[in-house]
């Protein structure tokens, strides 16, 4: 099945890991082609004087983000982060220790931006920006999923994700970008989504899903697109239109919207929640993509914006849409202000789909038949960017409770995994941060080890049969890597797939059957 060894489960979680130097030094994703680079405003290929230009870009970022300079200066090598990274645990490569990953950049920072490093480089571990360093950056900054688990354990709060984003931005700026992220961002900016799914194909696909829901429920549930005058714009990852089990989640949202009687729509112009600009640290591209959503919201005249099951998109929506596009408070351009006036401030802006449905559940507006999901025993995988990069509801930790509350409202059998592997300490699925590509399959499989160990435990102890997620990347990653760990690929489910299964819609065949009993 694989040309690499799938890691064995350890004797117990946190068992010491015998180091294997250079174990994954051979891994590097495909380079972006010149056209992928140029469409994002980056040079097509490695520029002349790239060493100088990389250092100049680093200087620019250090001035722009004070956090980056603090992270470069603050580390005291306490060792707290060393074994917290899933990629380190799965590969045993010491360069995958978070501190070592940071040091890839810190060593160069010291050489060019500190007095000691300028005059006594060897004494302070400072390195010149050389080809060898660049190759090491390209390899190991693409073995970080920017999940921020290590930062939870760092006494100084050093965020390796931000360092890895900065490193990728520096590499992009000298013409040395990654194909997966950059090709996709180009499609998003020209066609409207990561898949490159044109409007006509999208409409036809949604039609098929409507047909499927009607066959199942007997109700003409619609998945509207480009509906001017709708109240709610749903922004969801395009994988929801294409992949399994994502599609079942999308049909779940459609059924909930129908049952709630709200007037909603998708947009073909902004048919993507994902914004990989965050993975490559590009604020400029992040803003361009966020503005597509603003334009769609203004053109359609919607009052609310709801975000579907997508992990990093929710972080972007929650933390960056406000200042980049005026979705939420902030943004002082005329378009941002126009949107502010248009949106209904009685609702959270933006709102997560889980917040939306949890509100309906609390108000008793949805009817469920939990026996429909009794064949499943479910656990929940917290997605990194939701868990550590954002929030839901109006209190700290809402992002942990609300998805679980939703699942428990529709499933009788629910068990959490080991507390050290969930909520703020959740492990990445192994495919986040722009690593969800076939050319990085080895690191994806190995990095999934800690999550698979925790899953295996609840499978053994509680008979868990399904793993629910609220992120398109997590779902695609698990569907791919579960079989490497001898679990079935359809063990991963969308959270709204569970909702859909238990929902008893008014006037549906399910309602009729239930009331006859």
């Amino acid at each position: 099945m694989a040309d690499f060894q799938v890691p064995e489960y350890r004797e117990y979680p946190g068992a010491p890991i015998p180091l294997q130097e250079g174990a994954t030094a051979h891994l590097k994703p495909f380079l972006a082609k010149p056209n992928h680079q140029e469409q994002l405003g980056f040079p097509g290929e490695l520029v002349e004087n790239w060493e100088e230009k990389a250092i100049a870009k680093m200087g620019d970022l250090l001035n722009r983000y004070r956090s980056l300079r603090v992270y470069m200066d603050a580390c005291v090598k306490c060792g707290s982060c060393t074994d917290k990274c899933h990629y380190f645990q799965g590969t045993a490569d010491p360069k995958n220790m978070p501190v070592a990953r940071q040091d890839l950049m810190r060593s160069v920072y010291r050489r060019y931006f500190t007095l000691a490093g300028k005059y006594f480089p060897k004494l302070v571990g400072a390195r010149d920006m050389t080809r060898e360093v660049l190759d090491e950056w390209y390899s190991y900054f693409h073995q970080c999923s920017q999940c921020r688990r290590c930062s939870v354990f760092c006494p100084y709060g050093i965020d390796t994700a931000e360092i890895s984003m900065a490193a990728r931005e520096i590499m992009d700026s000298i013409g040395y970008g990654q194909k997966y992220c950059n090709e996709i961002l180009g499609k998003l900016q020209t066609i409207g989504n990561n898949l490159g799914l044109p409007g006509k194909a999208l409409e036809s696909t949604l039609g098929e899903f409507e047909e499927e829901i009607e066959e199942d429920t007997g109700l003409p549930v619609k998945i509207p697109i480009d509906k001017v005058g709708a109240d709610i714009l749903l922004i969801t990852p395009s994988a929801d239109f294409f992949a399994e089990p994502h599609i079942d989640g999308l049909m779940g949202y459609a059924k909930v919207f129908h049952e709630a009687g709200v007037n909603w729509t998708l947009s073909s112009y902004a048919s993507e929640a994902a914004n990989f600009s965050m993975f490559i640290g590009s604020y400029d591209n992040l803003k361009v993509v966020a503005e597509r959503i603003r334009k769609a919201a203004l053109d359609l005249g919607v009052k609310r914006i709801i975000v579907g099951e997508c992990g990093h998109a929710w972080r972007v929506a929650y933390s960056f849409w406000n200042t980049t596009a005026g979705i939420g408070s902030g943004g002082d351009e005329p378009y941002a202000q126009a949107l502010q006036k248009q949106l209904d401030h009685n609702y959270p802006i933006p709102q997560h789909i889980c917040e939306f449905i949890w509100d309906l559940i609390q108000k008793g507006k949805l009817r469920f038949d939990k026996s429909q999901t009794d064949w499943r025993t479910v656990t929940f995988h917290d997605s990194c960017n939701v868990a550590r990069g954002s929030r839901m509801g109006n209190y700290p930790g809402g992002q942990f409770d609300i998805p679980r509350n939703v699942i428990k409202a529709v499933c009788n059998n629910y068990y959490d995994m080991d507390p050290d592997t969930i909520k703020e300490k959740t492990y990445c699925c192994g495919g986040g941060g722009g690593l969800l590509t076939d050319d990085l399959m080895e690191i994806r499989v190995k990095g999934a080890l800690p999550r698979m160990e925790a899953l295996n435990e609840v499978v053994k102890d509680h008979g868990v049969t399904h793993l629910a997620a609220i992120c398109a990347i997590c779902k695609a990653q698990f569907a791919k890597i579960l079989p490497y760990y001898k679990f079935p690929m359809d063990m991963i489910v969308s959270t709204h797939q569970l909702v859909s299964e238990a929902l008893v819609m008014t006037g549906s065949t399910q309602e009729e059957e239930l009331d006859e009993e």
């Binding site: 898949l195 490159g196 294409f242």
Partner: protein, 110 residues
């Protein structure tokens, strides 16, 4: 990288997907399938033909669900499920079948 079909060089990307959709032939499909350790049968061709027709109309490969439904309608319910498609294309119908059909690789969180 390139694929040699009847003396003609067809250019492919790093992962072996054809760069030029129009250069695809049935012979090329057989070669592409070999590189994936897939032996082409009647059942494989049914899927490949459907994919190419769909792409012609929509400029993208169909979602797996759309593919399974279409196969089910055309070839009978017992074939209209993803298990059947995974038996034909073990690495996943979306990516592996697209490659053999000469279509670009689907991208995104899939």
């Amino acid at each position: 990288m390139a694929l040699n079909i009847n003396g003609k060089e067809l250019e492919t990307d790093e992962e072996g997907y054809l760069l030029n959709l129009n250069e695809w032939t049935r012979d090329a499909a057989v070669e592409l399938a070999k590189s994936e350790s897939v032996e082409m049968t009647e059942s494989h061709w049914e899927v490949i033909d459907f994919l190419r027709e769909y792409y012609d109309e929509y400029q993208i490969a169909p979602a797996v669900r759309v593919l399974t439904k279409a196969i089910g309608k055309k070839l009978g319910k017992e074939k209209g499920n993803s298990k059947y498609l995974y038996e034909l294309f073990p690495y996943g119908p979306a990516k592996q079948a697209c490659k053999i059909a000469g279509l670009p690789k689907p991208t995104g969180c899939i």
